[in-house]
């Protein structure tokens, strides 16, 4: 019993120190503060730094192939009967 009384007295002494917080309360308060900071960081919008997928315009993806005389000559010389019909 005497030892318990002594411990309580010591805790009380620490609590009454300059900070006004006990040993356990101090870490509890610190933990709560960290969680609040993490929540604040998560709440920051990321829209400004988000990577944008490459969206090629119509000009880049448009068809460039044309069946010109040059191309027809290629088909004709490569096939036996192609383009003869």
């Amino acid at each position: 019993m005497r030892q318990d009384d002594q411990t309580r007295k010591t805790d009380k002494t620490r609590k009454d120190g300059e900070t006004g917080l006990g040993r356990r309360q101090f870490f509890r308060a610190l933990g709560g503060g960290t969680a609040a900071a993490a929540a604040a960081v998560a709440a920051v919008p990321l829209g400004s730094t988000e990577a944008q997928a490459y969206d090629p315009g119509n000009a880049e993806t448009r068809s460039r192939y044309r069946e010109t005389d040059h191309v027809k000559a290629f088909y004709r010389t490569n096939g036996y009967e192609t383009l003869k019909k």
Partner: protein
């Protein structure tokens, strides 16, 4: 809409590498990069076959699927192109491609890689057609000029076909009907007797 395709008639390819040389010259491809290569199977043995390989411009391109910066796009001609301004040279597309098409210039010591380079089907890149910037990054844009890829146009044995997929498939079918395929082709038995069949 025409779909651009390459088709190499392996019965005709003689491994002359003219397609490789023509491609390098036409696009001024940097040292150490081959947009097109000729692969030879059973080299030096009866039944040897050579196939000219480059980017096959896949319909569902695995290079585009793995690219972390989405620099690939497919044109209306079904040609797979990429933007060198966005490419970060990570090398993922090289591992994803089953044909080994993506190549990287060596830009410094310690193995550092530059922007990826691959076959463009002679149709340039995202820059304006036939511009200097396009030529410097991707080479010439023959499709915009109304021509076909030079590798196919240069092929002396007419092995490499390029153009509208339906058209070149028709040409190849006509060849097979006319001459046969593999060991059934005209001249095969004269060259190899009947002991080798493919």
């Amino acid at each position: 809409m025409a779909r651009m395709k390459f088709l190499c008639d392996a019965d005709r390819c003689i491994e002359c590498n003219a397609c490789v040389t023509a491609c390098k010259n036409e696009h001024e491809v940097p040292w150490g990069i081959n947009r097109r290569r000729v692969i030879t199977l059973n080299d030096g043995k009866p039944g040897e076959r050579s196939v000219s390989m480059a980017c096959m411009h896949c319909t569902d391109a695995p290079c585009a699927a793995v690219c972390p910066v989405n620099c690939f796009y497919t044109t209306a001609d079904a040609v797979v192109l990429h933007s060198k301004d966005l490419c970060i040279g990570c090398g993922y597309c090289f591992y994803a491609c089953p044909f080994g098409a993506p190549q990287y210039p060596r830009v410094g010591n310690f193995g550092s890689r530059g922007k990826m380079d691959k076959c463009t089907y002679c149709s340039g890149g995202p820059e304006a057609d036939l511009s200097v910037a396009e030529y410097e990054k991707y080479g010439s844009n023959r499709l915009a000029e109304g021509k076909l890829p030079l590798c196919a146009e240069m092929c002396s044995t007419k092995s490499l076909l390029a153009g509208d997929g339906e058209m070149i498939a028709q040409i190849y079918k006509e060849r097979v009907i006319k001459r046969g395929y593999g060991s059934g082709a005209w001249g095969w038995k004269t060259a190899y007797r009947e002991t080798i069949a493919i």
